[in-house]
C-alpha cells in the first residue's frame, strides 16, 4: 500500500522546487478532476450525509411510528436531546457499549488477531490455511445464522456448552450477558484484525528482526522494539475501524435482545428499542445524534494519534 501511493519521482522534484505538494498531481485539470469524484461524492451525499442530516432534523421533532405524531410531527426543539441525555438509560447503555468495545474489539479482536497473525507469520501449508479459513468463516457467515448457532451453544437448558461442561441449567445469557456478547463478538470479528496484522507483519524487514535476534533481544523485546514501531499505523487504523464497527454493532440484540433488564443494552440496541419498539422515532433520532457525536470523538482521537508521530 505504502509503495503504491508514494508519489512518482517527477512530482517529488516538483515539490522540492515549489516547496509544497502540487495541487494537480495527476494533471487532469479542475473540471475533469471534479467529474471523476462527482459520482463518489454523490453517493456519499445521498447515502451518508443526507441520512445524517435527516437524523439531526428528526431529533428535533416528536415524530412517532404510530399515532397522530406519525402523520403530522411537531417541532419540539431540543426537548428530545435534553430528555435523552438526562435519562440514566442512555448513560447505562454508553457504559455497556464502552465495555463491549474495550472487551471485544480493543482487547479481544486485536490481541487474538495479532496473536494468530504472529504465530502464523512464517508458516505455510495446511495448518495455516485451516486456521485462517476457520477464523474467516466466523467473519463471513450471516449474523442471523451465527447468532442462532450461539444461542444453541449457550442455551441454559439444552445448550451445547452446558452439556459439555456438565452444568445443565446454567443461564449464560441471563447471568453473564455482557461476557457472552463480548466473547461472541471477539470470535466473530477476529478475522479482520488477523488479516490486517498478517499483511502488516509482512512489511517488517526481516533484516531488522535478524539484527535484533543477533543482539540477543528476547521475543517480547523484538516485538516491542522492532515490530510495533513498524506496524504502528496499521494498529491505529485497525483500532479505529473495529472500534467504530463494534460501537455500532447490532448483533448483540440477536443473542440477548438487550436483556435481562437492559443489562446488555448497548447503544445500537438502545436506539432500536426507543425508536422502533417504543415507536418514539424523534427521541430515537436524538439518541442517534448523541451516538454520532461519540463516534466523531472516537474517530478524531484515533486520527490524531495516527498523525502525531508521522
Amino acid at each position: 500500500m505504502a509503495q503504491a501511493t508514494s508519489p512518482p519521482e517527477v512530482v517529488q522534484e516538483d515539490r522540492s522546487r515549489r516547496g509544497g505538494y502540487s495541487s494537480d498531481a495527476a494533471g487532469l485539470g479542475r473540471g475533469r478532476a471534479a467529474a471523476f469524484v462527482a459520482p463518489a461524492l454523490l453517493l456519499i451525499a445521498v447515502f451518508l450525509v443526507f441520512p445524517a442530516l435527516w437524523v439531526l432534523y428528526l431529533g428535533l421533532t416528536n415524530y412517532r411510528l404510530t399515532g397522530a405524531a406519525a402523520a403530522e410531527p411537531q417541532f419540539v426543539g431540543l426537548d428530545n436531546l435534553i430528555e435523552a441525555v438526562t435519562t440514566p438509560e442512555l448513560w447505562n447503555s454508553t457504559w455497556l457499549t464502552l465495555q463491549f468495545v474495550l472487551g471485544s474489539a480493543v482487547i479481544g479482536q486485536v490481541v487474538l488477531g495479532f496473536t494468530i497473525a504472529w504465530l502464523m507469520r512464517d508458516r505455510t501449508g495446511p495448518l495455516k490455511r485451516a486456521v485462517e479459513g476457520l477464523v474467516i468463516l466466523a467473519w463471513i457467515l450471516p449474523s442471523a445464522i451465527v447468532s442462532f448457532l450461539w444461542v444453541a451453544l449457550l442455551d441454559a437448558d439444552d445448550g451445547t456448552l452446558n452439556a459439555m461442561l456438565g452444568i445443565p441449567g446454567f443461564p449464560w445469557l441471563l447471568d453473564h450477558p455482557m461476557l457472552s456478547i463480548i466473547i461472541f463478538n471477539t470470535w466473530r470479528g477476529t478475522a479482520f484484525s488477523m488479516m490486517l496484522y498478517g499483511a502488516a507483519l509482512g512489511n517488517v524487514p526481516p533484516s531488522h528482526l535478524e539484527s535484533a535476534r543477533l543482539a540477543g533481544a528476547s521475543g517480547w523485546q523484538q516485538l516491542r522494539d522492532v515490530v510495533f514501531p513498524h506496524i504502528r499505523g496499521h494498529i491505529l487504523t485497525n483500532l479505529l475501524l473495529i472500534s467504530l464497527w463494534t460501537f455500532n454493532d447490532f448483533s448483540p440484540f440477536l443473542l440477548t435482545a438487550g436483556g435481562p433488564d437492559g443489562r446488555s443494552e448497548v447503544l445500537a440496541v438502545h436506539v432500536y428499542k426507543v425508536a422502533l419498539q417504543s415507536g418514539e422515532l424523534g427521541h430515537g433520532a436524538a439518541v442517534s445524534t448523541v451516538i454520532l457525536l461519540i463516534n466523531l470523538v472516537v474517530a478524531v482521537f484515533y486520527l490524531r494519534l495516527l498523525r502525531s508521530k508521522k
Binding site: 467529474a35 471523476f36 459520482p39 463518489a40 454523490l42 453517493l43 412517532r64 411510528l65 404510530t66 399515532g67 397522530a68 405524531a69 406519525a70 402523520a71 441471563l174 436483556g259 435481562p260 433488564d261 422502533l276 419498539q277 415507536g279
Partner: protein, 461 residues
Amino acid sequence: MVRKRSMSVVAAIAAAGLGLAACGQSSGGGGDTVELTIAANAIAGGKNSASAEHITKWVIPKFEEAQKAKGKDVTVKFVPSGVDDEQYKTKLSLDLKSGKGADVFDFDSIWVGEFAEAGYVKPLSEFVGPEADSWDGWAQIPGAVQEMASFNGKKYALPVGTDGRVLYFNKTLFAKAGLPADWQPTSWQEILDASAKLKSAGVPVPIQLNAGTAMGEATSMQGALPLLAGAGGEVQQDGKWSGASQPVKDVLGLYQKIYGGGLGDPKLQQEAKGRDKSFQQFAEGEVGILLEGDYFWRSVVNPKTGVAPMADRDQTVGYAMIPAIEPGKGIHGQDFVSMSGGGVRTVNPNSAHPKEAFELLTFMLSPDALREETKDGNMRITPRTDVNKEILAGDPLLTFVSEKVLPVTAYRPPLAVYTQVSVALQEATAAIVSGTAPDQAAADYQKKLEGIVGGAGNIAS
C-alpha cells in the same frame, strides 16, 4: 476506469432499489386476475399455528373457489409472521408508513387508535363502500365488541374475537384451607381473607396478581386495570386520565396488602420470565388464586395443548368473577368487573382491490369459517353471538366468560398514548412490590402521567 466502476455501482444500487420496491408491492392490478395478500402474526408450526393452517388450508382455497363460482379470478397469498406482538406491530407500521403492506391484515384492537391517528387505517366505509356498513354480520356482533374495532365512532376493522378475565383458583388447595369449591368473592376483602387462609394452610403462593414492568401489558390487563374497574375507576374517562385518584390509590393499596403482607411472591413479579413461571407454579399446585384471561384456560393449563398442562384441569381449576372493591362499587355501579381485548382484521387503505379484500374479510368471519376455525379443540370466543352459542356449549369456562363476564367487561381506551400510560401504571405497581407506599406511588404515577398526556389539564384526580 474509475468512472465506469462508479457508474456501474450506481446502476447496481438503482437496480437493487427497484427490486426492493417490487418486493414490497402488495398486489398487482393488471389483467383480470385479482391478487390479494393476508398478513397475520401466525405461522404454521409456530405462533398461532392453528390459525395459520386454517387460513392456508381452508380460507384461501374456499374463498378462491367461491369467487370463481361468481366468475372472478382471485388468488390469495398468506404472509406469515411468528414474532412478538411488539415486533409484529413495528413491521406492520413500517409497511403501512411506506404505503405498502398486505391487503388484509390482523392486528391487536389496542392499536386501532394509534394506527387511525397515523392514517395507516381508514374507516372502512370510506374506501370500501357502503357494503362495509351493511354487512349482515354486524347484527351478530355485540356493541362492545364492535367498539374494539372502532375509533371516534367509525368502524376501522372487523373484530376477530374477544376475551374476558376471571379469578382462577385451585380447588385442591382451597379444600385444604377449608374454602368452598364454588368460591365467588363479592369484595376485595374476601379475596384477602381467602389468601390469608391459604397462607396459613401452607400454600407457597396464596395469590398471584401480576405486577411490575417485566410482565408488560399482562400487568395492566390481568392486574391494575380490572382492579381499577372494580374500584369504580377507569384509566381514562370522559377525556381525562385518572391520576392519583381514590380508585388508583385503592388499587395500589390492594397490591400493597398482597405483596407487603406476604400473600404474593414479590420476586416472581421482577423476573424476566415471571409470568411463565407463575403459570408453571399454578399447574404444579403452588398457587392458590390467579387472575387471568380465558387464554389461561385455553392455552396454558389445557391438558392437551397447554404450555403448562394440567391433566385434571376440569376437576381442579375453579373460576370466579372478579368482584368490585365492595358490592355495587365497581364502574357503572357493578358488583363484578372484567377487562377485555381482542384482535381485529382490516383492509389496507393502500389495497388495489378494497372490495374484494373486504369480501375476504367477511368471508373469514362467516359462521362456516368460524366453525371450521374453532373445531378440534381450537375453541375461542368469536365475535359472533350466533356462532358462540353453538360452539362454546362444550366448554364450561368459555360459556361462563361469554354469558357472565362479557356483559360486565370493559375495554381499554383505543388511544395512541394508552400504551405509554399503561407502562406508567405498571411502574407504579412495580414500586409497590419493591416497598413504596401506595400514596407515594400514586403521586409518582400522576407526575409521569402529566408528562405523557400533556399536562395536568388532561388529568382528573
